[in-house]
Symmetry: C2
Subunit: 512 residues, 2 copies
C-alpha cells in the first residue's frame, strides 16, 4: 500500500498570494443525477395518508380571522371557538393544481436570476442569528456593520444565490423598523434576491416595495416576475400564528413566493419517530401551501422542511444528524410527489467552527442535495444551532457548497475524455504530467478549492502551519478588502433612501 500515499509533490504556489480569492463563477446549479429515494413509494403514500388524517381529523389551529374566512369559503370545517381548521384531501388537491412546478426570482441584476423548482439547486445565506462571531473579534451581539459585512460576503462569493431573512439582527436599531435598514443593505451591497420578513403585513410589503424600486418597477409590475421570497415558519405542532398568516397573505397578494416550513424537531415539536415527524411536516406544509393558493391561485410556493431531532437527554436541538440527513432526503420525495419546489437546510449544532461544525454541516448538506433541495437555506454562516452568524463558518460553508456544485457537474463523456490514445501514449509505470492530453486540459481539469491546502507537510509547516480555520479568517478578511459594491443608478439609490426615511416616519413608534 506504500504507493497510496502522498509522495511529496511539486512545490505548490498559493493562488491567494495575489490578493484575489479563486472561486467558481456565478451559476444556476442543476442536479441532473437520478433522485435518491430513501422511502419506498408505498411509504410515501402512507405519509400522505397520515398527513391527510392530521388535516381532516386533528386539524390546524390558526390565529387570524382572515385565514378562517378563506378556508371556510373553500369548504373547510372551521371551528371559530377553538380556531381550528379541518380540511379534506379534495381541498389540498384543488390547491395543488395551481402551484407552479418552478418559478424565478429576479433581483436588480437580471443576470443573477435564479430558478427554483425542478432540478435547480440554490444556496442561501444564514438567517436570523442574534449573535455574530469571528476569530479576531470574538462573539458579540448582531449589529448593522456585521450585517453589512455578511451581505458583502454573500455578494462577493458566487456560491451564494440568495440572502436569507436578516443574516444577523442589528440589535442596536429599533425592532419596529430595522427591517428597512437590512433591506437597504441587501439592495446596496448586493444584487441578489432576498428574503422578506413576514412577521406581519408591513414588513413583507416593505420588502416587495424596495425590491420593486431597485428594479425600477412598481410592485404591481413584479406580480408575474417575483423579486423577493419569504418563509412562513409553522409553530409546530399544528399552529399558524396570525403575524405569519398576515405576512403570507401580503406576499401572495403580490404574487411573491412563500416557503412554508414546519418547525418539526423530533421529540419536541413532533413525536420522536421519523415517519410521524414527516407526516406532521407534510400536513403543516400542505396547509400553508393551500392557504397561498386560496389567497391568490398560482402564487409560487415552496415546500419547506426543517425536520431534525433534539438531544433527548437535554432537549437541545440537534442538526446535521443522521436523522436530519434522512429527513432532508425523504422531505424531497414528498415535495416531488406534489410537484412543489423544495426548501431545506444544512444546519449544525456546534458552538465553535470546529470538526463537529464541519461534519454535521456535511451530513445535512449531502442529505439536502440528495433530497433534491431547490433552496438549501442557512447554507453559509450558521453556527450554535442558529444563534450565531460566523464569518469563518461562512467561508467553510462556501467551500462545502463549491464542493457540492462541482460534485453535481455531470461527468463529460466522449472519446477524448475516455482518452484511450493518451493512455496508450504513456509508458507503463510512467506519468501523465507532460502528456499532450493533460497539457490541453490541466488548467480546468479539476476543482480548485478555496480553503483546502494541499501542500506537503514540510511546505505547509514552513508556511506557518495554518490550519483551515486560520486560513478561513484570512479569506473573509481578503474578501471584504476585495469587495466591490455593485453599481446602482443614483436616482434609484435616492428613491430607496427616501422610501426608508418616509416609512420610518410613518411607522413612528408603532408596528410596521
Amino acid at each position: 500500500m506504500s504507493r497510496e500515499r502522498r509522495s511529496g509533490g511539486r512545490r505548490g504556489k498559493s493562488t491567494r498570494s495575489g490578493g484575489s480569492i479563486e472561486q467558481l463563477p456565478w451559476q444556476q446549479v442543476k442536479n441532473t443525477y437520478p433522485a435518491f429515494e430513501l422511502l419506498k413509494p408505498e411509504q410515501v403514500d402512507q405519509l400522505h395518508d397520515t398527513s391527510m388524517r392530521i388535516l381532516s381529523e386533528a386539524g390546524i389551529r390558526v390565529m387570524g380571522e382572515n385565514v378562517m374566512d378563506l378556508f371556510e369559503d373553500a369548504g373547510a370545517i372551521v371551528d371559530r371557538d377553538s380556531k381550528t381548521i379541518r380540511i379534506d384531501e379534495s381541498i389540498v388537491a384543488a390547491a395543488l393544481e395551481t402551484v407552479p412546478f418552478e418559478f424565478t426570482l429576479t433581483a436588480r441584476n437580471r443576470a443573477k436570476q435564479i430558478t427554483l423548482g425542478g432540478n435547480n439547486v440554490t444556496f442561501g445565506l444564514v438567517a436570523g442569528p442574534p449573535n455574530v462571531h469571528d476569530c479576531i473579534n470574538g462573539r458579540r451581539q448582531g449589529n448593522l456593520t456585521d450585517y453589512q459585512n455578511f451581505i458583502k460576503l454573500a455578494h462577493h462569493f458566487n456560491a451564494i444565490h440568495l440572502i436569507g431573512n436578516q443574516v444577523t439582527a442589528p440589535l442596536e436599531l429599533p425592532a419596529n423598523n430595522r427591517h428597512l435598514d437590512t433591506y437597504q443593505a441587501n439592495l446596496t451591497y448586493s444584487d441578489l434576491t432576498f428574503h422578506c420578513s413576514a412577521i406581519g403585513h408591513g414588513r413583507a410589503l416593505d420588502g416587495i416595495n424596495m425590491m420593486a424600486i431597485s428594479r425600477g418597477q412598481t410592485p404591481e409590475e413584479m406580480k408575474g416576475d417575483p423579486g423577493v421570497i419569504t418563509i412562513i415558519s409553522v409553530n409546530s405542532p399544528r399552529l399558524f400564528d396570525d403575524a405569519m398568516g398576515d405576512g403570507l397573505i401580503a406576499m401572495a397578494e403580490y404574487g411573491q413566493p412563500v416557503t412554508v416550513t414546519p418547525f418539526t424537531l423530533m421529540g419536541a415539536m413532533t413525536p420522536v419517530t421519523l415517519p410521524a415527524a414527516l407526516a406532521q411536516q407534510n400536513a403543516e406544509a400542505l396547509f400553508g401551501v393551500v392557504l397561498t393558493q386560496l389567497v391568490n391561485p398560482g402564487t409560487p410556493v415552496m415546500y419547506g422542511s426543517f425536520t431534525s431531532n433534539v438531544d433527548m437527554r437535554s432537549g437541545a436541538p440537534a442538526f446535521g444528524t443522521p436523522e436530519n440527513a434522512k429527513a432532508n432526503i425523504a422531505g424531497g420525495q414528498l415535495a416531488r410527489r406534489y410537484g412543489i419546489p423544495y426548501r431545506t437546510s444544512n444546519a449544525n449544532a456546534s458552538n465553535a467552527v470546529d470538526l463537529q461544525a464541519a461534519y454535521e454541516t456535511m451530513m445535512a448538506t449531502w442529505g439536502a442535495v440528495l433530497g433534491g433541495a431547490n433552496i438549501v437555506y442557512h447554507a453559509a454562516g450558521w453556527l450554535e444551532g442558529g444563534l450565531t452568524a460566523s464569518y469563518e463558518k461562512f467561508i467553510l460553508d462556501v467551500e462545502i457548497i463549491q464542493n457540492m456544485i462541482e460534485f453535481l457537474k455531470p461527468i463529460k463523456f466522449d472519446a477524448d475524455e475516455l482518452g484511450f490514445d493518451a493512455i496508450q501514449s504513456v509508458p507503463t509505470g510512467g506519468h501523465f504530467f507532460g502528456a499532450e492530453h493533460t497539457m490541453a486540459r490541466y488548467e480546468t481539469a479539476f476543482y480548485r478549492p478555496m480553503l483546502s491546502d494541499w501542500q506537503n507537510y514540510e511546505n505547509w509547516e514552513a508556511a506557518g502551519a495554518k490550519d483551515a480555520l486560520q486560513r478561513a479568517t484570512g479569506i473573509w478578511q481578503q474578501a471584504l478588502r476585495d469587495f466591490e459594491e455593485p453599481a446602482m443608478d443614483p436616482a434609484i439609490r435616492e428613491e430607496l433612501e427616501a422610501y426608508v426615511a418616509k416609512r420610518k416616519e410613518d411607522i413612528g413608534s408603532g408596528e410596521p
Copy 2:
C-alpha cells in the same frame, strides 16, 4: 424564522462523565438503499469497452515470469522481451465466472465475522503511514507502541471492522521482519481480521500462518474459510511489480482474498479526465482479478478503487475532492457490473485534523457509501495524504463512520411509527417531551454521537469551551484506559510467540 433556532434546551448531562465512551454496538452494516447511479448504463459500457482495448491493445507490464506463464497458459499474448501481457475479453469473462459475489472474513472471534460483497459495508483502519501524530505528543516516526495503541483503539471501537496493512510502520524494528511484530500485535490486542502485507510471498504466508494459529487451525483448514486479506496496489499506469505479484499468488494459493487496487491519481498516473481514469482503473483492476482466478479459480477477490486527482499546480495528491467522490460512486457501478465485491477509500489531504480534514473525509465517505463500497479502507486515522496516522483523526473518523452507519439504518415504518394518535394527543403549539409515545422510545430514538457536543453555548463555555479536536484527545485517551485485551488461550499465545521467534531466526538478515 426566529423559531428555527436553538432555544436553550434543558441542561445536558455528559455521558462521558462516568468514564466509558458511548458507542454503537458491533454490527455487520448493510446498505439497503437503492444504488446511486452517477453513470448512465451506456457510459458504463463505454468504460468497459475502453478498458478492454487497454488490456488487448496497450497491455499490462508485469515483472514476474510466473505471472507471464500463467497468462500464457490462459491464451494471452505475452511479449517476454517487453514483459507485456495482452488479453482479450474472453479471458476476462472466463475469470469473472469463478469470482465469488461475496465472501466472509473470520478472525479468531467468529462473532466478528464480516461479509464482503453484496450490500455489506465495512470500515477499515488506516494503513501504511510512516508517521504518527496526536495533539499531546506531536508528530513522530511510527513505532511499535503507537502501532499497538492504534490496534487497541480499533478493537475498542465497534465501528472498525478490520485492520489495514500496518497502521503505522514501526520504524525502530528491522524492515525485513517487522511484519511479524505487527501481525502479533493485531492478533494480541484485537480479535479482528487483518490485512497481510503482500510485498513478496513470505510476508503474505506469515499472515496466513499466524491467523491460522490464532484460530487453532492449519493454513489448509483456512482455505475455504478465509481469515486475512491483502491489497495489491498496481503501479499505475499498467505495471504490476513482481513482489506484488508474488504476494497475490501466495494469497490465492491459500484461498485468502486479494484486493486489486490501481493507484490512479488523475493527472499523474492517469489522464486528467475521469472517464479515462476509470477506464484505466478498470483495466488494471480486472487484470489483477484475472490473475487471482488463474492461480486458483474461486479465490475471493475485490475490485479496488483509489481514483482521485492531483493538484495540477503542484503535483500533490488530493483526496476527498468532488472528483474523488464521483470516482468512488462510478467505481462501484463498475464493480457491480462484474459482480465483484468493491473496495474504496475515504481519504483526505489535510496536514492537520482540521475543517479540511473533516470536509474532505466527508466528501469521500459519502462517495464511498453511495458507491456501494463493501470495504471503506483507510477509514479511520488517515492524515497528511496518508503520511501520518492521527489519533484525533481516528476519533473524528469513528464519529463520521457511526453517522454513516446510522444513516444506513432503514427507516422503521408501521402504524406506531407513523404516530397519528400521538400527534392528535398533543395540543397545537404544545410539545411531545412527556407524551407516552415519546416516553416509550426516547432512550433509543436517535443516534447519540460520541464526539458532538450539543450543549447550549453558555453551558459549553462554562464546561471549558472545548472544541471537537480537544474533545477527541480526551476520547482516545479514555479509550486506551478503557481498553480490555481480548482473552486468548495461553497455548495459542505461546504458539504465536514461538512462530514469530522461529521466523525471525529463519529470516535472519535476508528477505522474508
